[in-house]
Amino acid sequence: MTPLTFRECLNRALDRILAEDDRAYILGEDILDPYGGAFKVTTGLSTRYPGRVRSTPVSEAGIIGVSIGMALAGLHPIVEIMFADFLTLGFDQLFNHATKFPYMYDGRAPCPVVVRTPTGAGRGYGPTHSQCPEKYFLGMPGLTVVAANHHTDPYPLIKQLQNDRGPALLIEHKGLYAQTMWTGERLGEAGWQWLDFKFGEFPARALSLVEPRRCHMVVVAYGEFARRLEEVVMELALEDEIFCLLVCPTRLNPSSMEPLWQLARPIGRLVFAEEGAQGWSWGTEWAYRAQVECGSSLEAAPVCLASRADIIPCNIWRESETILTTERLTTRLRELAR
């Protein structure tokens, strides 16, 4: 059987959710057939579920606002924001409304809105269509932020987000849609050893090419960036015998990080790698917590690798100078292992 791409898998997940749950709705810009959304995720769904897949005006605040109302009325809306860069227009709806209702009404007003959105660069889409803005949402109490990846079936992931009482943000990197899903069998064929575990109540996977105790460092990355790191980890192992334990969480803002520390303690070195801009970010927050919560077991301070804190240019060549590419990542990890 040909392995599914993430796009196909996500499409099937949404299809199944609409089929099983008649309170589920999908809202977003241009998501109706035949167009099926900017990244074709909803292809076929508006035909199969007429009226429950709704195309909206170009108004992110409106889309999220309406879905909050639907959630308060007992429905299970899933929102697609065409580019994560425009999430900011719905920021107030999430920050001052969706996250606050379950608390302000003492749990009697659950607000299970799931906002899906594509992030990231690599296509030359320029300053306002290439960013990784999830960092601005990580510090929002009440919002569950989760990043999809090619290891994790999106169906249980979205179901779990819907079952939470509050709103959730599902990050989907643009580069992920065309990637094939990594099943256990394919991982084994490719020479990986892996461990699936729960991290912040959501699935996570640790991978390596040798036994963990032989690894030189633990590298943590999420989403599509974790997939790129697999190539880097492979190259470092084959070329230099530098071995990394790659940890790929889905939950980006967990309350407890203990499972990660348990993996990191025997190895002693921790690196956080992300495509988002350097500083005030996912990586720096996790590195800070690593230092505070397990720093005494580490041989060196945790390291953050990220893209340059700069505006992302349109020119694809200049874009690659701004973004943390796999080449640069390989060089940096090689330096760190010395």
């Binding site: 256990g184 069998e185 991982l187 084994g188 064929e189 490719a190 020479g191 990986w192 050893q193 892996w194 461990l195 699936d196 575990f197 729960k198 640790a206 390596s208 090419l209 040798v210 036994e211 963990p212 105790r213 192992a237 084959l238 070329e239 230099d240 015998e241 499972p259 348990q262 993996l263 025997p266």
Partner: protein
């Protein structure tokens, strides 16, 4: 839950317990696994429901006997016999993590053949295998092949055993090209060099113990010769006039140590050269030596085209030699011969004999060199 439904890991502090299928009555020796209540890797409390089984009489809910992290060993809908392990419960997450990752490499439900064709090897492993003429497809086990796996395999293979050759009993034979080359070189040494000799003995037990400990902890058989090589290289770095080559009245000094190791293979004397052994790890030196021995055995020509050595090491201690005076090799500053004296244990000692070119250094310098070397050999840990 009775103790006999549990099997513990064999270590003193058990990492896990196996939970076995109970035999509920004499007629029921097997059961169907109905449903798991926990996911792979989930944490479970002692007494919490683990899975449901169905016998011919009833369905039962089985509880976890201990608190820990679950590895499911049977899948839903399968029929299992009594006392079959149903789940392994790891007592710490760390234990689960370690075993689950390694387990991915060994577990039965992975397709064992699938990983073989795509089995990858690191560059270092490929280089070593190529140098040793090994076919990595024959290497047992699974997963990524690193240099370490190749080294361990080599250590197990003992491909270095010399098969005794039969010698002609009578008649004539001509010297091999190599023998004639050496004979000429030794004759030249007598006419061009001025050999001097110094000797001293040094207690051997710390080095012998060190090699045994290294073999145990690294699972890698280190030869005493490897330690001599490194100790010599370190000492030569301080005694630069012995890391030298001389042509008439010009002495060449080198920033890196260049030692030739005299090897007697099938009655042929050859001396492959190792450059920069002072910087190499003991393991790398050992690997180099093994490769050199293999190349010598195959009579590979590259031995004739190697860097100019400054110093030769010849270890005849394994042959039971007590003391011998090694020849000075033309152009080189010195040759160290190593013998062994005394019984095993505290009285065992190395007998070091240095033949040096008296035109480059004098006896006092050579004696200080031996003293430094002897000090290093009594503290082999400092070479790691």
């Amino acid at each position: 839950m009775s103790e006999d439904l549990i099997q513990k890991s064999a270590t003193e502090q058990p990492d896990w317990v196996d939970f076995l299928l109970p035999v509920t009555n004499a007629n029921d020796t097997s059961a169907f696994v109905l449903k798991w209540y926990v996911e792979e890797g989930d944490r479970i409390d002692a007494g919490s429901p683990l899975l449901a089984i169905e016998t011919s009489k009833a369905s039962l809910e089985l509880e976890s006997p201990v608190e820990g992290f679950v590895e499911r060993m049977v899948s839903e809908g399968t029929k299992v016999a009594g006392a079959t392990p149903l789940a392994r419960i790891y007592l710490s997450w760390e234990a689960y993590a370690a075993s689950a990752l390694v387990g991915a490499d060994q577990s039965e439900n992975q397709n064992p053949a699938a990983s073989q064709p795509g089995r990858m090897a690191t560059k270092a492993a490929l280089e070593l295998a190529a140098a040793m003429g090994l076919d990595l497809a024959e290497l047992p086990g699974r997963g990524l092949i690193t240099k370490r796996e190749v080294e361990r395999w080599l250590a197990q293979q003992q491909v270095y055993e010399v098969s005794p050759k039969s010698h002609p009993q009578s008649g004539e034979m001509s010297l091999s090209a190599n023998q004639w080359r050496i004979a000429c070189a030794l004759r030249n040494a007598l006419t061009t060099g001025v050999p001097g000799f110094v000797s001293r003995s040094v207690a051997a037990n710390s080095l012998v113990t060190f090699c045994q400990d290294y073999a145990r902890s690294h699972r890698f058989a280190l030869s005493e010769t490897d330690v001599f090589l490194k100790a010599c290289a370190r000492t030569l770095l301080q005694f630069t006039y012995l890391n030298a080559s001389r042509q008439s009245n010009t002495v060449h000094l080198y920033s890196q140590v260049r030692i030739a190791l005299a090897l007697n293979v099938e009655d042929q004397l050859v001396a492959p050269v190792i450059v920069g052994a002072e910087r190499l790890s003991l393991r790398d030196i050992a690997t180099w030596r093994l490769q050199a021995q293999l190349r010598v055995r195959r009579a590979e020509p590259e031995l004739l085209d190697q860097p100019e050595p400054t110093f030769t090491l010849s270890n005849l201690a394994p042959e039971g030699v007590e003391l011998f005076i090694p020849n000075l090799v033309p152009r080189q500053a010195g040759t160290l011969g190593i013998g062994k004296r005394g019984a095993r244990g505290s009285s065992l000692e190395w007998v070091l004999c240095l033949t040096f070119d008296h035109t480059i250094v004098n006896g006092g310098y050579a004696a200080r060199f031996l003293k430094s070397l002897a000090d290093l050999l009594t503290q082999p840990e400092s070479l790691v």
